[in-house]
Symmetry: C2
Amino acid sequence: MFDRNTVISSNVLSILQNTNQPLSVKQIIENLQEISIPANKTTIYRIIKKLIDKKQISEIVINSGIKYYELTSKKHDHLICNECHAIFCIDVKNILPASKIKRLPSGKTFKMKTHQLNIYGVCESCEDTGS
Amino acid sequence: MFDRNTVISSNVLSILQNTNQPLSVKQIIENLQEISIPANKTTIYRIIKKLIDKKQISEIVINSGIKYYELTSKKHDHLICNECHAIFCIDVKNILPASKIKRLPSGKTFKMKTHQLNIYGVCESCEDTGS
DNA sequence: ATTTTTGCAAAAGGTTTGCATTGAC
DNA sequence: GTCAATGCAAACCTTTTGCAAAAAT
């Protein structure tokens, strides 16, 4: 995973493996604190960056401007509550059907209002320059 | 539009009406400078906030963390170049088909790699409290 | 012993806030 | 004249960077 195995890096990874929703750096730090592993935010940002470079985790940006991270293998689309900002992971295949009311695996409902789809890739100009 | 009609606010709106892609606050300021209307960023943020409250414009967040704004009436999904960060507006209906290569209205191509779909709304707990 | 990982402080970048001034009506 | 809009400086928040100290191998 990492060049060297440390308490912090291994726990960050297992926290991400064991959660059922994307976590922000702040939330990761809180999770670490709960198991008595204090960590500096700089350290977490650096661990996150390595995991992203290895494509082990993916970055999610929501309208609050805060970034969240989840295992790439668990990558989902997301329902985001405008009120409490909770993030629920879903599979787009379960959404397309008509109703604006989505039933979550937990049995709870979610009223969909707006969406944002961003598709990332490479435009023709950048493809040409091969940068 | 606004409680009072000013040079800055009316021009911000017309810039957003005349562009074919979402603009950041920085880009809006640059657009204003080009027509010799210097404006403070605070002012632009406040104008943007009013337009969002009135739902005249919508906010788009991309992985760079920067927010972009576009007329709600022109709301699209977006292709975002990972290299140059250009944003191309598209209609999701034109995407779903098989190929990873999307042809833009301009005739140029875009190679799609990853996507992020965020659906905003209200979760059951917040719906209950009616907040 | 070497090299990576970590912590701290400071900086960076986008966004927001407080307050006094300017400008629209 | 009144109240909204603006500008400026400072604050805020998340994220990044530089450098020295600590830990892993």
